[in-house]
Each structure stands twice: as C-alpha cells, then as structure tokens.
C-alpha cells in the first residue's frame, strides 16, 4: 500500500503554510501507511551553504564531536541544529564529500539528505506523531514530499522509511516495489553511488542522483528510469527548485494531481487534496502511465 503526497508551491502565496498544508495531507494518508512516515521540506536555502540531515538510530550521539571531526575534513565550519534523533549540519564545505565521509566514518549515523534546499525527517510510528515530533506544521518553504509506509520490501525501520535521498537536493517517495534493485544497486555502486540501506526505493533515488549528476535534466533522467527501473511504482520526486511525478507504464498504483495557479499537489488519494486552499477550482487529473510530469521554479 503506502501513501504518498507532494506539494509544490508555484507562487509565494502559501509558502508560509507549506508545513501545515503538508502535515494535513500526510494525516489523510495515515490509513495507507500506519507503520512509519517521513517528509522532505525544501526552502530557498542560504547561498553558499549546504545542509545535511542526519539520523542517529539508537544510542545518544555526540553531535558536537562529529561536527568537529567533519570541520577538520571539510576545512569549513559546521553548525549543528538538533531535533531529537535528527540533526541538521550546515556548512560552506562540500556537501557530497561530507555525506561520504560520514557514511564511511560514522557508522551509527544515516545521512538522510544533503543539499542547499532540503531537510528530511523520518521515523517509525504513527504518521501524525512523526509530523508532530519534527514539527512539520511550522515549516515554511517552496515544496515538500511525504510518505506513509506500509512496509513490504524491507523491514519496518527508520532507515527503511521514505523519502530517500542520495544526491544533492534530490529525493523521492515511492508507492510500489522494484524487482531489479539488487542488480541496479551493484551497477550504481560501480558508478560511484553509495547506499545506506537494503531498500529498493533508495536504489531508485540513487539512480536519479546518478543521472542528474551525469548532466541529465529531470525529464531525461525519468525517461531513462522508465527503461531501467523494473517494477511497479508511482513516484513523487523533489529536486532543487523542482517537483516531478512518474508512474510505471501499467500504472496500478494510484495517483491524483490537482493544480491551481498557486500550487501543484499530488497524492495517492483525493482525501489528501480535499483540504487544500482553492481545491474547488483546481484542475484535477490522474497522471498517465509512463508519462513524465515536472514543474520547476527556475523557468
């Protein structure tokens, strides 16, 4: 099952309300995925600054010590903002290098995301509690994607929860399952991607990150994904200043999109969209199978 939501704000009008609207959408998807949840929120960021969202599973982590060690590696200051078992590191240093260093050297941490605009939170438990714990409702920004999980492909763990992000400001949520993820993971590792879980969706995130890093536009990357990802899926994808949706060519996993002049929203079910401002006059459509939908603020 699983529930997925995405909200992309085309104008500034509702940006102060991004978190509140996303939390309300996620709330409606609780019944599709009661075992864990996660969300990624994008804001405009600070020029020259990269953020890493980190997760410490289990014991208390000494964030200050890790930040100090990372400062030495990056030769740049690292600021720490902790929220329970998550922390956001902000630095002028190289984000991709920071991510890889933490993966290689701090085994009790997961790097949930890195990039200029993205922060990402996930946890096991009731999606409403997850949203509340990491204060989704108060967040502002340009776009957000969220996921409520009913685990099928790997265990109910925090690091098996969505969204998954491996590349800068690139993350995705997934309803479905991939059947060729082990093979793809091996290929992508050889191409320089690193993975932190056995989850199939992380492989799809890694695939997109790889294509984007190779110079593809998001549309080109998704066109290639249609060839290379085997399985059934509805994907909601967040990228820097952009948002995209892709369904496999059979399209058995649900998706519904609503669009107004101010926003684009997608969800597994209409219930999530029902409370959005201006939904009465929104254009509503079911994304077609195998067709790429993308929106960008950069245009």
């Amino acid at each position: 099952m699983c529930g997925i939501v995405g909200l992309f704000l085309k104008t500034e009008r509702y940006r102060p309300d991004l978190g509140r609207l996303t939390a309300a959408m996620l709330h409606e998807m609780r019944s599709r995925g009661p075992d864990s949840a996660g969300f990624a929120v994008y804001d405009e960021g600070t020029p020259g600054e990269t953020r890493l969202t980190l997760l410490s599973e289990g014991a208390e982590h000494d964030w200050a010590a890790t930040a100090a060690a990372l400062e030495a590696v990056l030769d740049a200051e690292v600021a720490v903002r902790q929220t329970l078992d998550h922390a956001v590191f902000s630095t002028a240093g190289d984000g991709r290098r920071a991510r890889q260093w933490i993966i290689d050297n701090v085994p009790d941490l997961d790097v949930l995301s890195h990039g200029r605009q993205i922060e990402l939170y996930k946890a096991v438990g009731d999606p409403d509690l997850v949203a509340e714990r990491y204060d989704l409702a108060s967040r502002t920004g340009t776009h957000a994607i969220g996921h409520t999980r009913m685990a099928t492909e790997s265990a109910i763990t925090t690091n098996g929860s969505h969204p998954f992000a491996t590349g800068a400001d690139t993350c995705l949520v997934h309803n479905g399952s991939f059947s060729n993820h082990n093979q793809l993971r091996r290929q992508l590792r050889r191409a320089g991607e690193s993975f932190q879980t056995e989850n199939d969706t992380e492989v799809a995130a890694g695939y997109l990150s790889w294509r984007l890093r190779e110079g593809d536009t998001i549309d080109e990357a998704l066109m290639a994904a249609l060839e290379d990802l085997d399985g059934f899926y509805t994907l909601a994808i967040g990228i820097e200043s952009g948002f995209a949706i892709l369904r496999d060519p059979i399209a058995c996993k649900p998706a519904l999109v609503a669009e107004t002049d101010d926003w684009v929203a997608m969800s597994s079910e209409y219930r999530s969209l029902a409370g959005l401002p201006g939904i009465e006059d929104a254009e509503l459509f079911e994304p077609e199978p195998g067709r790429i939908y993308s929106w960008s603020l950069a245009a």
Partner: protein, 232 residues
C-alpha cells in the same frame, strides 16, 4: 417527498452507510463527502442517493438497486462489481470504474481513467469523455460506450463485450478487433445512449470486439498466439 440530508462533516461514514442500508425507500442527499471511501456501497433497496461532491475509492460498489448520482469526481473503483441499478457521475472517474460489474448501468459524464470496465461481466458503461489505457481488459459481457477517445490497448484479451467508440482509439489490445456494426448493434447503442441521456449519433461510432483467437491455448502455436491481435 423531500430528500433526507446526510452530512459527512457531522456524521461518520459508517453512520451514513448504515442509514442507507437500513432504508427501504426514499431519497437521500449526502453532503461534504470530501473523498470518503466506500460511500453508498452495497445499496440493495430502491432508494435514490445523490452525493454532492467528490468521492473516494469504491463508491457505490456492489450496487444492486436504486440510483446513485455523484455530483463531482470519483477515485478508484467507482461502482465496482455493480449488479444492477444505475450509478451516474457528473465528473471524472479514476481507474477501474465499473470493474467486474455484472449488470446495471454506469454513466460517467466526464472521463474515465485506466482499465475502465476491467473484467466486466454484464454491466453497461457509457462514458461521455475518454477512457484510459486497457479499458474493458478481459471483459466478458456487457457494453462499453465511449463518446470520446480510447487510450492504448483497448479491449485487451476480450471475451465477449461490445465496445463502441466515437472518437479515436490509440491502439487495440491483443485479440481486440474492429467489427461490423450490424442493425442489432445500432439498436443496442441507440438504447444505451437514450438511457444514459447522451446526445450522440450511433452512426458516428465504431464497434470493437473479440477476435476469439485466445479462447483456447494452443501450445504448438505459442509464437503465433503472442503475435495475434490483428486477425478478425
């Protein structure tokens, strides 16, 4: 007789469906549905139900008697397994509308999504707009009328459904072929357009149906079977 109003902003889904199931006659108007699932499912009394707004999954599923009118859009599985009676929607229906329907009439004034009428077993479906890919997939009995266009793989692996399309067909599924429109088909189509209250000329439609080459599996012909779909 005036309709009884059931407000989903003040009543639970279970209460509203319970009221409909307990009724033996009368008219009901349901307000504030906001995409609720399984609304007005399992109705088996001669009642009229009007739903003002968008509904979620499986609205009017297993419908048996009476009428359900949705003023809005519907999500997956509208009128799935409808047995008899009438279900009508003013907006669009997402995928699998009328799935496995055994009888009755489903009218979609807007567009229907993917797999409209999948495995239909006797229901008549009239769609004012377009239908999505693989509509009438493995259809066994009944009629699918499309006033707009049909997406890819229409009527794939069809048994015995008559499909009438006024607009274009992106592609026909395996073993689905264009067929002659004989007088009895014109009669059927004329009747269905009338009961669905749709204004269209039967002469503008093309009929599609099963080539019946997949009825039996011939292991010796497996290559030919896989390539089948063009013969009539």
């Amino acid at each position: 007789m005036t309709a009884t109003t059931l407000d989903l902003s003040t009543s639970t889904l279970r209460e509203v469906n319970g009221t409909l199931h307990a009724a033996t006659a009368g008219s009901f108007t349901i307000t504030h549905p906001r995409g609720a699932h399984a609304l007005a499912a399992g109705i088996d009394a001669a009642i009229d139900v009007e739903i003002d707004g968008p509904v979620g999954y499986y609205c009017a599923g297993m419908h048996k008697t009476g009428t359900v009118l949705v003023k809005g859009n519907a999500s997956t599985g509208l009128a799935e397994n409808i047995m008899s009676g009438t279900v009508r929607i003013t907006g669009n229906a997402m995928m699998s509308a009328g799935a496995t329907g055994c009888g009755g009439l489903l009218v979609i004034e807007g567009n229907a999504g993917a797999r409209c009428g999948i495995s239909m077993k006797g229901v008549d479906i009239v769609v004012g707009g377009n239908v999505g890919h693989m509509s009438a997939f493995m259809g066994q009995a009944g009629n699918l009328v499309v006033l707009g266009d049909a997406a890819e793989d229409l009527g794939d692996s069809l048994y015995e459904v008559d499909i009438f399309v006024r607009g274009s067909v992106a592609s026909l599924g395996s073993d689905c072929v264009e067929k002659e429109m004989r007088p009895e088909h014109v009669d059927t189509l004329t009747r269905l357009l009338a009961v669905a209250d749709m204004d269209a000329d039967p002469a503008d439609f093309t009929r599609y149906g099963s080539a019946r080459t997949l009825y039996n599996f011939h292991v010796d012909d497996i290559d030919a079977e896989l390539a089948a779909g063009g013969a009539s």
